[in-house]
Symmetry: C2
Subunit: 342 residues, 2 copies
């Protein structure tokens, strides 16, 4: 079969000696077309192996049935799981998911948004980069009347919906759990406080401490990258002081693991002397010999919900802008790294 074998409605119309309009209507099951004609067209279309050109249809209708998803990196478990959720929810509705990576850089984010808008996607899902401060590029999307749904890492822009987990509660739960294990001097490894999620987790930590009558120590709140080495060196810093923590609540599983490895190296017993809790419930946390307690973010659910918000938005009346904030409940998975009552 050669390249030019694409069958169009014109080919069908010629073969049947009817107009392309009739063919189009017949294929779309338009009530104005007689049953006979419809069946004839359908059969002929099938016989000729006709495939609708979605491109032409998209140009005419203005709907491509493509959505874009912008994430920092696609091969992080959390993000690929969210994307899985989005894909599985949208696929039955005929949408395709285009993926873009920001590499944690606003400039890439800006470019990606631009090219996505040019390709006429029907909507955008995104988790902003760490470096994103300004929201001009995001407001541009809003102005073009393209639905945008944030997930996990959002920015406050009026008119835009978001799906997140209750990070405050995640932080609170983790901290409360540690307190209930008898820990009092709980240190917190926070991520980049430019991101709401980390700020909220931190606030949850503070709130839990206060609720249980423990005054949080300032020196015990550290900003730590999501890397093993960062967690390890944070432990070194903490242990170089006189006052040492009896628990670590890390906003990142990676930093938590680094901390655990470093503590073991120093001969500190976990969870007897120090309890450790991470965040994200990365796959590896449950595989460890000393499985790590962690807060699950239900990423697939997050993706599904984001997709649902999007669908509501486009299926609703176009004039009405919906601003919906969906907040999912985080779940604490208690494992050996913090469980003293075995």
């Amino acid at each position: 079969m050669a390249e030019k074998d694409k069958v169009t409605i014109y080919d069908i119309s010629k073969k049947l000696n009817i107009s392309a309009a009739t063919v189009s209507r017949a294929l779309n099951n338009n009530p104005k077309i007689s049953q006979k004609t419809k069946e004839l067209v359908m059969k002929t279309a099938a016989k000729m192996n006709y495939k609708q050109n979605k491109l032409a249809q998209a140009l005419k209708s203005g709907k491509t049935h493509n959505v874009g998803v912008i994430v920092p990196y696609i091969n992080r478990n959390f993000f690929s799981s969210v994307i899985r959720g989005i894909e599985e929810e949208l696929s039955p509705h005929g949408y395709h998911v285009i993926i873009c990576q920001s590499h944690e850089d606003v400039n890439n984010e800006i470019k990606q948004i631009d090219t996505l808008l040019n390709t006429q996607i029907d909507g955008i899902f995104m988790s902003v980069a760490k470096t994103t401060q300004d929201t001009d590029h995001i407001e541009k999307v809003l102005k073009e009347n393209t639905p945008l749904v944030f997930f996990d890492r959002k920015k406050d822009v009026t008119g835009l919906s978001s799906v997140t987990i209750d990070d405050f509660r995640g932080g609170y739960l983790a901290t409360e759990h540690l307190i209930k294990q008898g820990c009092k001097k709980i240190a917190h490894f926070s991520g980049d406080l430019n991101l709401e999620i980390y700020k909220n987790r931190h606030e949850g930590y503070i709130a839990a401490m206060k609720d249980y009558g423990i005054e949080p120590i300032k020196e015990f709140s550290l900003q730590v990258n999501s890397k093993l080495e960062s967690g390890a060196s944070a432990i070194q810093d903490l242990w170089s002081e006189d006052e040492k923590p009896d628990a670590i609540f890390s906003a990142s599983d990676y930093a938590a693991l680094g901390a655990i490895q470093e503590l073991k190296k120093m001969g500190v017993k976990i969870p007897e002397e120090v309890c450790v809790v991470g965040f994200s419930n990365e796959p590896f946390t449950k595989y460890m010999e000393l499985p790590i307690t962690s807060v699950d973010q239900t990423p697939v659910e997050m993706g599904r919900n984001a997709a649902k918000v999007f669908l509501e938005q486009i299926e609703g009346s176009k004039t009405l802008t919906i601003e919906k904030k969906v907040v999912l409940a985080p779940e604490l998975y208690i494992r050996d790294s913090s469980n003293r009552n075995l």
Copy 2:
């Protein structure tokens, strides 16, 4: 800004009192347009916030600059890493990546291919599902003259390119390493032998054994799923016999981990009594307290290479069909689970 604010070349042409053709040519830097006009058009376009409608362009040119990637599940580390490679290689060339999941089911694969072809993608990348036997749906892609590049899990279809790792060599390397650690009774956990990759790993295992003068025992070749429990129960099966292995080479990291956990439970010392090697170099393997030796598949590189093959294919003359088989070298990461000479 209202929905209908999309600026077209006609809007520009009206504003400047010139034809749309001239505007189009000016924007495309056509040499037939005078410098003055070009600059005027450019400036006006920028001022009016003109954005090229890629859809219209795609309909005209027949090129959407979209490619589809079909994988079993997008949130498996290996697949999302390959996709990352594809995206990073193609993005600078103006391509967008659409992702599809087959959920390891041929029927979904068939549907995905159909809808991708309808949306006029410029190419398809795919790793077939475990259940894929028949290749009719794949040959259909070939007939439509749409480039298709397999990665990792391929099918032999003449005219189609693929990028894989040398699984035979991966199996050989792993087995050879075990032999060099002094192991003689090496068991192999194979995956679904319907997939070439597992067959090849198995053959590499057999070949290494024979090369080192060890006759492989049939009962030591088990078909084991890529799950912890499967690895664990395989160990139970093996240890219920008199003749027990002194090493496990698992074609899956998950099964390897399950095996390790089960062996530890039974009090078997690793690597002293039994050495274990996995496959895929999943992130968790290096994080374990007993890090697991594994064969790396260089997924990001695989994606990049697949993308390059695709680009060659479409940039080359259209009449010439390229069938390129790229085979990447796997790399063995030796870790504590099999390293006796510390």
